[in-house]
Amino acid sequence: MLANWFPNVASIWPQFVQSTWETLYMTFWSALIAGVLGLGTGIFLVVTQPGGINADPSFYSFLDKVVNLLRSVPFIILLAVMAPVTKYIVGTTVGTPAALVPLIVGIFPFYARQVQNALLSIEPSVIEAAQAMGSSATEIIFRIYLRECLPDIIRVSVVTIISLIGLTTMAGAIGSGGLGDIAISVGYARFENDVTIAALLVILVLVFITQIIGDWIARKVEHL
C-alpha cells in the first residue's frame, strides 16, 4: 500500500524514518530544556512583579522586557541570528543538535508567558492567606502556585509542545533535518508531493498524540 500511495516515500524509507526520529529528538530535548527555563522564568515573573511575594520591580521589568523582546523575533530570523551562539555552544551550526539552541530560545519565552498567566489565575487573597499562615516565598511557590495551577500548567505545556513541533519543521531551513526538512528539500524541491503529504501526516499524528496525552494527564490531576 505504501508503494502505491506514497511511491517516493517508499524509495527513501530509511531517510523518512530517520527524519521522524530527528523531529522527535528536537521536540523532546527542546521541550525539556525550554520547559525548565520557561517554568523558572514564569515563576520569577509572578514572584517579582509589583505586589508579588518577593516583589522586585526592576528585576521584573528587566525579565518582562527580555521575554517580550525574544517573543518579537520571527523564528526564521532567530534561526539565523542565533548561529554564532549555536556555534559557540554546540561547536557547529548545522545538524539536529545545533537546532536545539534556537528552538529553546524561540520557545521558552512563549512558555514563560503562558506559565505566568496560569499562575496569575490564583486569587491574590489565597496567597495572602498562605502568607498569614507563615509560609515562606519558596513554600508558596511549591505548595500553592504550582500545586493549585497544575492543571493549567499542563494545558499550557501541551499548547507549547504543539507550537514547538511546528517550530522544529522550520529549523529545516538551517539544515536541522527532521520532517520539515524532508518535506521541503525532498517533497517540494523534487516535486514528490507524496513525501510532503506523508511528513504532514506524521506531524498531525504527533500533535494529536500530544493533545490526547496532555488532556488525559490534565483530567487526572483535576480531582473532579
Binding site: E123, S125, V126, E128, A129, A130, Q131, A132, M133, G134, S135, S136, E139, R143, I144, R147, E148, L150, H223, L224
Partner: protein, 252 residues
Amino acid sequence: MGVADVAIDLQDINVTFERKGETVTAVNDVSLQVKKGSIYGIIGYSGAGKSTLVRVINLLQRPSSGKVSVSGQDLQQLTDKKLRGVRQKVGMIFQHFNLLRSRTVLNNVEYPLLGKKISRKDREAKAFELLKLVGLAEYAQSYPEELSGGQKQRVAIARALASDPDILISDEATSALDPQTTASILELLKKLNDELGLTIVLITHEMQVIKSICQEVAVMADGSVIEQGLVGDLFTAPQQPLTKSLLSLRLM
C-alpha cells in the same frame, strides 16, 4: 491593664499608600490594645480602613509609622523567619475563605503543619480532630468546592487553628453568609474563645455581630478610630453620629 494581659498592642499606627503621586491615608493614627482572651470588634463601613488595620497585626501590611507588638514581641524588630513564626500563632479567616481548591478538606487543615516536625500520621490525626471540633469530620475527603459557604468557613477556622494560635483575626468572615449561618459561625468563635482562651479580633460592618459576641469595640471611619470602649457602653450611650447610624441600621 498589665503588659502580660495584652495580646495585641498597636501604638500610633499610620498606613499611607502612594497612588498616582497622591498620598492616600488608609489608617490614621490608630492606637488600640486587645486583652488576652477577649473578643475585640472593629466596625465601620467599607473603605474605613478596618482590613488594612488588622493586616498590620501580623505585618501583612507594614505600617508607615507606629509600633506593633503581639504577645509582648515587637514585630517590626523581627527577622523574616521569626515573623513567620509569629504569623503561625496568629490565625486569620477571611470573607471568601481562601481555601486551596486542589486539596481535600483534610489536606487544607493540614496545610499550616506542612514542613513542621510532625509525622504525617500525627498531622492527619490533628487535622481530623480539628474538623471534628468544627463539626465537619464527615467531609474530610471532600474538596472545598463541594461545600456550602458556612462549611467552607468552618474548614477555614479549623485550618487557622492547626498551628495552635493564640490569636484569631476574622476579616469579615461572616459577611458572605446568610444570617442563620452567620449565627452558627459566631457561636463557634465564641466557643473557641471560651474553651481555648483564643483572643479574637473581628472586623465587620454589622452591628449585630459586635453585639452577639464582642466585649470591646472600636468604630472606624476614614482610617481613624472615632470611638472605642466596652460594647455595653457603646450601645447605651453612643457618642458619635456614625456610631448612632450603625446602631439604628440594626434597628430598622
